[in-house]
């Protein structure tokens, strides 16, 4: 059971009309790994993630989740979106509890768990606030709690911190690293920031430029854990990895630029 990959993509392609967005991608993500996917903008990172989530299905090929072929919504996954997805008419506590409430937990039990999470994300005393009353960083924390409170086996994140300022973003990354290392959750993290990808992950996937996006490289990140996100960026090994991956990614980014300008 433990040896089954959390996600296995088998020759998946995805076309939108006559445009082939993703062509013949195969990979496996072992359980409990933290994998980042990087690639030039518009290369289909989100499409790939949406297929793993079961929100869209591949035109060809198949995705397996813990050994089972994925049909419909991926029930073992939680998804953190790039944009705010909190329900504006629910309070902070209501939003955190939402997943538990949908799973039919008793009001008492889900409230108890939500209170614990509220404390954990440092928003104690904000339980009865509505999302519009919170800052962007606070809303992201609520989204993190909403996502992790259901104890998913797999967490999918689509550039969740791209809209945040540098400091808030840094704290969120620490929070995620902390959560991932303390649970048995597999994480697939989409980003365009290579530094972020290397610092957080066990493995980095590089996608090619669109259209007909392929998987052009997989780089295991052997940096020791637990990691300190401040110090790691001046680490020698980190910089070597960055150089290596950036060489490949750069080619794709430039290709993408040529396509846009020609």
């Amino acid at each position: 059971m433990c040896d089954l990959p959390a996600v296995a993509a088998r020759n998946i392609s995805r076309a939108f009309g006559s445009v082939v967005a993703i062509e013949n991608i195969s990979f496996e993500v072992a359980a409990r790994r933290f994998v980042s996917i990087v690639g030039p903008s518009g290369c289909g990172k989100s499409t790939l993630l949406n297929m793993i989530a079961g929100l869209t299905s591949p035109s060809e090929g198949q995705i397996e989740v813990f050994g089972e072929p994925l049909v419909g919504i991926n029930r073992r996954a939680a998804y953190m979106f790039q944009r705010d997805a909190l329900l504006p008419w629910k309070t902070v506590l209501g939003n955190i509890q939402f997943g538990l409430c949908l799973r039919g937990y008793s009001q008492k039990k889900s409230l108890e768990k939500a209170q614990a999470w509220l404390q954990r994300i440092g928003l104690k005393g904000f339980g009865n606030y509505y999302p519009y009353q919170l800052s962007g960083g606070m809303r992201k924390r609520v989204a993190i709690a909403q996502c992790w409170i259901v104890e998913p086996d797999l967490v999918l994140m689509d550039e969740p911190f791209s809209a945040l300022d540098v400091h808030t973003r840094f704290r969120m990354e620490e929070e995620i690293l902390n959560l991932a290392s303390r649970s048995n959750t597999t994480v697939i993290f989409v980003t365009h920031d290579l530094e972020e990808a290397i610092a957080l992950s066990d493995e980095v996937f590089v996608l090619s430029a669109s259209p007909r996006t392929r998987l052009v490289g997989r780089y295991p990140i052997a940096l020791p854990k637990p990691r300190n996100l401040i110090d790691i960026k001046s680490d020698r090994e980190f910089q070597n990895l960055y150089q290596t991956i950036w060489r490949d990614l750069r080619k794709e980014v430039l290709k993408d630029g040529d396509r846009v300008h020609s």
Binding site: L55, F81, L102, Y130, Y132
Partner: protein
């Protein structure tokens, strides 16, 4: 906050000044025969009439009838509009099928329906309620429809990822979204209900503010007509304030949209 109260009270004082200026000019013009008091009456006479109506209790039963008709048409129209709006919002094919008929129905001037409703439902309150329903129904219908259709797809995806069934999706995402639209149209739908009901009473009734105005008109009693309008205006103001408070309570998860209010961070 004190800043806010000061600004707000300044506005209220200016509003009262504006009203008294208009009334003052009107009173002066009528009193000095610049305008004919027979056609324009006098504010003082109108106030006396309203005072007389309320003191003798004459106006209450008429007012009550108008309010009852308004509330009934609002409730019935809202329920019908919300249910049909929700159903068509979730069934695009049915919505496309019914689209031209709904447009035609909405384009129809309601006044022309009043005589038909009089024939069908008689002189009592139900012909007015029916007229009010045809107005409220379309407002609530269109708002519910939009609310269901224009939910951010991201919210739906998020709820589905968190494990929502289609029933739960309706309960936690679609209905609250539709309610937002319905609540924000409360002012319009209640206001329009009052208008429709009064028009209905005016065209044929045995009770109500519209009936009072029509009666006064029948005997060229302009003071009575204006008194009826004054009572109506007062009621509309009261209802508007009540609806405003209700809306604020129901939509408390939304940022406050009072242009005078400072940015609040409670």
């Amino acid at each position: 906050m004190t800043e806010y109260i000061r600004k707000k009270s300044t506005i209220v004082i200016l509003q009262l000044l504006l009203a008294s200026a208009v009334v003052g000019i009107w009173e002066y013009c009528s009193a000095s025969n610049i305008v004919d008091p027979f056609f324009f009456s006098r504010p003082s006479a109108i106030m006396l009439r309203v005072g007389h109506w309320t003191a003798t209790g004459f106006v209450w039963s008429h007012l009550l009838t108008t309010l009852l008709e308004t509330i009934l048409s609002f409730l019935i129209g809202s329920c019908l509009g919300a249910v049909l709006g929700f159903v068509l919002g979730t069934l695009p094919t049915a919505a496309a099928l019914l689209d031209p008929y709904i447009r035609v129905g909405n384009a129809l001037p309601r006044v022309v329906l009043a005589p038909i409703f009089l024939l069908w439902f008689g002189l009592g309150i139900w012909s007015k309620v029916a007229l009010g329903v045809t107005v409220v129904f379309f407002i609530v219908f269109f708002n519910t429809f939009r609310g269901v259709r224009e939910v951010d797809p991201l919210l739906i995806d998020n709820a589905r990822m968190l494990g929502a069934s289609s029933g739960q999706l309706a309960r936690h995402v679609l209905i609250p979204s539709a309610l937002t639209w319905i609540f924000s149209s409360l002012h319009i739908s209640i206001g329009m209900a009052i208008v429709a009901v009064v028009v209905g009473e005016y065209l044929g009734a045995s009770k109500g503010i519209g009936y009072l105005i029509a009666q006064a008109e029948g005997v060229f009693d302009t003071t009575g007509m204006f008194a009826g309008m004054a009572v109506l205006a007062f009621v509309v103001l009261l209802v508007g304030a009540a609806v405003g408070r209700l809306e604020r309570r129901l939509l408390r998860w939304k940022p406050l949209q009072d242009s005078l209010a400072p940015n609040r961070f409670p």
